[in-house]
């Protein structure tokens, strides 16, 4: 593992930001103040951060409906995201996207996406653009176990190999496509097993373990940057909340989430490892927790006090130019 102290602190901060953001959105959604559909990423933080720690602003990612974590990991500003989720004019997308469409192309974040499996084709295009521009960029598509079954994903795996694109496809298998178990809906034991059929390496990794994800991601990204082509990586992990906020999750086992939280929560595993190995101190982690809590608190206050769009905003930005 080649992470220095600053990088370790950065990784922990990002994961904590995602967790605190999602926990808070969960609480705020319950008050009825947040409109629309919200899908939370809590529990899966090690995946987004483990990959995005390797990336710069030139690199692109495409996310899913469960996109907040990927946004934060890729460097999208938290205040803007919270405002967006509240439908405010100063949100990342001016209040026109909402939770399911947060994007920030300047940060290389090509959007959360309301369509399951829509990201992989777009990421083939981002990889193609990087190849033509010869900027060494890579492009990563995150999909869920549900998205892994979409034709768009399978077509993209094929195209990425045929065109030898600098793309990585990450299947975040949290066990459920909405309420349907991936043990039932995925035709093979591991989603990553499908890589063989598309002529690329396939890797399964424990998505609760940041260090394992970081390592696997690093190898795939390095290979892609060097022209070695795409990789399919499956992160096996768990989501702590429902498919969407309001999901009673009656399809899940008794104490299922509780057991995961107690045994393999990604933040817990990370803290344990870095403190036991003397890489970071508990005091350093506690300080980050405190700072992040204040940051999230401020983002909510900022969002709630921000103005909503006006009627003048309805018809802007449909086109670059239209008579």
């Amino acid at each position: 593992m080649n992470l220095n102290e600053a990088q370790l602190l950065q990784a922990y901060r990002k994961m904590r930001q995602i967790r605190a953001f999602e926990d808070r959105v969960h609480d705020e959604f319950a008050t009825g103040e947040i409109p629309g559909f919200v899908h939370l990423y809590a529990g899966e933080e090690a995946s987004a951060v483990g990959f995005c720690m390797h990336l710069n602003d030139e690199d692109r990612i495409a996310s899913t409906h469960r996109g907040h974590g990927h946004c934060i990991a890729k460097g999208v500003e938290i205040k803007g995201m919270m405002s967006e989720i509240y439908g405010r004019r100063n949100g990342t997308c001016a209040g026109k996207g909402g939770s399911m469409h947060i994007a920030d192309l300047e940060k290389g974040m090509m959007g959360a996406n309301g369509i399951v499996g829509a990201g992989p084709p777009l990421i083939c295009g981002a990889g193609l653009a990087a190849k033509f521009r010869k900027n060494g960029g890579v492009a990563i598509a995150f999909v869920g176990d549900g998205g892994s079954n979409q034709g768009t994903t399978l077509e993209s795996l094929n195209l990425a190999t045929v065109w030898n694109l600098p793309c990585i496809f990450v299947a975040e298998n949290n066990g459920y496509a909405e309420s349907t178990g991936s043990k039932w809906s995925v035709s093979c034991e591991n989603i990553a097993d499908r890589a063989a059929a598309f002529g690329m390496p396939g890797v399964v990794v424990d998505g609760h373990d940041f260090f394992a994800v970081y390592e696997v991601a690093g190898e795939a990204i390095k290979r892609a940057r060097e022209g070695g082509g795409p990789t399919l990586i499956e992160c096996k992990l768990n989501r702590y909340y429902g498919h969407f906020e309001g999901d009673a999750q009656t399809y899940r086992g008794v104490d299922e989430v509780k057991k995961v939280k107690e045994s393999k929560d990604c933040l817990m595993l990370f803290s344990k490892r870095v403190t036991e190995q003397g890489l970071l101190t508990q005091a350093q982690l506690d300080a980050i927790d405190k700072e992040v809590a204040a940051e999230i608190e401020a983002s909510v206050a900022h969002a709630k006090s921000s103005a909503k769009p006006t009627s003048a905003d309805l018809m802007t930005d449909v086109y670059v130019s239209y008579p």
């Binding site: 997308c93 192309l105 777009l122 295009g125 193609l128 930005d317 086109y319 670059v320």
Partner: protein, 333 residues
């Protein structure tokens, strides 16, 4: 001396000139080059009907073959457009939109709006439309009304070689996603095309023939059917003003309404099926905005509400004919 080119070669020349001018312009599609992975010659096809033939020799790898995987490569073109390229992706037949439409209407068309204005998607989707080649139900439709319906998309339907070149150049330079509809029956049509580069702005209808009695709006192949009808009607003393909108989104309604204010009569000819068609759309808009100028009902001449048939007898009945157009015009006089 004017130089003649076919509709097909005019599009080819537009692509070649834009690709030479701007290296972010790339082209992709099934068999756009042809012969990849085979033992014979490269550029074997240059597109299924040869529209992109010869480009590979000029631009090399910037024109790419794709597997038959419309969702992946149309989506890749959208993604590349959002990352600073100007892709021209060929959806071989518009009928194939069914296997890739999400990437067009939920992705490319919506990036700018959903992302709060902070995205540009300069994507061109070239696609073949239209009946007449006995290609049956899944290779003969005119589905441009479906694309016209979607905010965020622009839709272009050239009817002659001059317009095909100028509108293609504009489509490539435009910063919004454009659906460029090429009527397959027009590929062999010859016409004057300047050698130099020129762009025809969107939202500028072309008054193809002036006349004071009846306004006839038609697009794509239907412009030629309307012109045939207009010639026949002129012999009967009926003067048609034939207007080719050239783009259905944006739509130059102003030119159409100005004409209707003069003629008081409107026939809209559209090769697509009638329900929610361009004919229905233009009729509704003119009725709403210029009702006072109309001296009779707006007439729609469209394909019937059935899929394009295979047998020549049936397909000939399906396609709006000059006779049917003339009949509609006469009914208004």
């Amino acid at each position: 001396m004017a130089r003649e080119l076919t509709f097909k070669d005019a599009i080819n020349e537009a692509l070649a000139q834009e690709m030479a001018r701007d290296e972010t312009v790339i082209a992709m599609g099934e068999d756009n080059v042809g012969g990849m992975g085979a033992e014979g010659e490269i550029d074997a096809w240059g597109g299924v009907l040869g529209v992109t033939k010869g480009l590979h020799a000029q631009v090399g790898d910037r024109i790419m073959d794709t597997p038959i995987t419309e969702s992946a490569f149309i989506g890749a073109a959208a993604g590349a457009a959002a990352c600073g390229m100007r892709p021209v992706a060929e959806l071989m037949f518009i009928d194939f939109m069914g296997v890739c439409f999400d990437q067009i209407f939920n992705q490319a068309a919506k990036f700018k709006y959903m992302f709060g204005g902070k995205a540009e998607t300069p994507l061109v989707v070239r696609t073949m439309i239209g009946a007449g080649l006995r290609a049956a139900s899944q290779h003969s439709q005119c589905l441009y009304p479906v694309f016209t319906h979607i905010p965020g998309l622009k839709v272009v339907i050239p009817s002659n070689p001059y317009d095909a070149k100028g509108l293609m150049i504009q489509s490539i330079r435009d910063n919004d996603p454009v659906i460029f509809c090429e009527h397959k029956s027009l590929y062999g049509l010859k016409g004057d095309v300047p050698e130099g580069s020129y762009a025809i702005p969107f939202n500028e209808a072309n008054v193809v023939r002036e006349g004071g009695d009846v306004t006839v709006v038609a697009m794509g192949m239907m412009v030629h059917k309307a012109m045939e009808a207009a010639s026949a009607l002129a012999k009967e003393g009926i003067q048609c003003e034939v207007i080719d909108p050239r783009t259905t989104s944006p739509l130059d309604l102003e030119t159409i309404i100005e004409s209707v204010e003069n003629t008081g009569r409107l026939v809209v000819v559209d090769e697509s099926n009638p329900r929610c068609s361009m004919a229905a759309d233009i009729s509704a808009q003119v009725t709403e905005q210029a009702f006072g100028s109309l001296r009779g009902p707006v007439k729609m001449v469209t394909a019937p509400h059935c899929p394009p048939p295979f047998s020549d007898v049936l397909e000939d009945l399906y396609i709006p004919s000059p006779e049917k157009i003339a009949e509609a015009v006469r009914a208004l006089k």
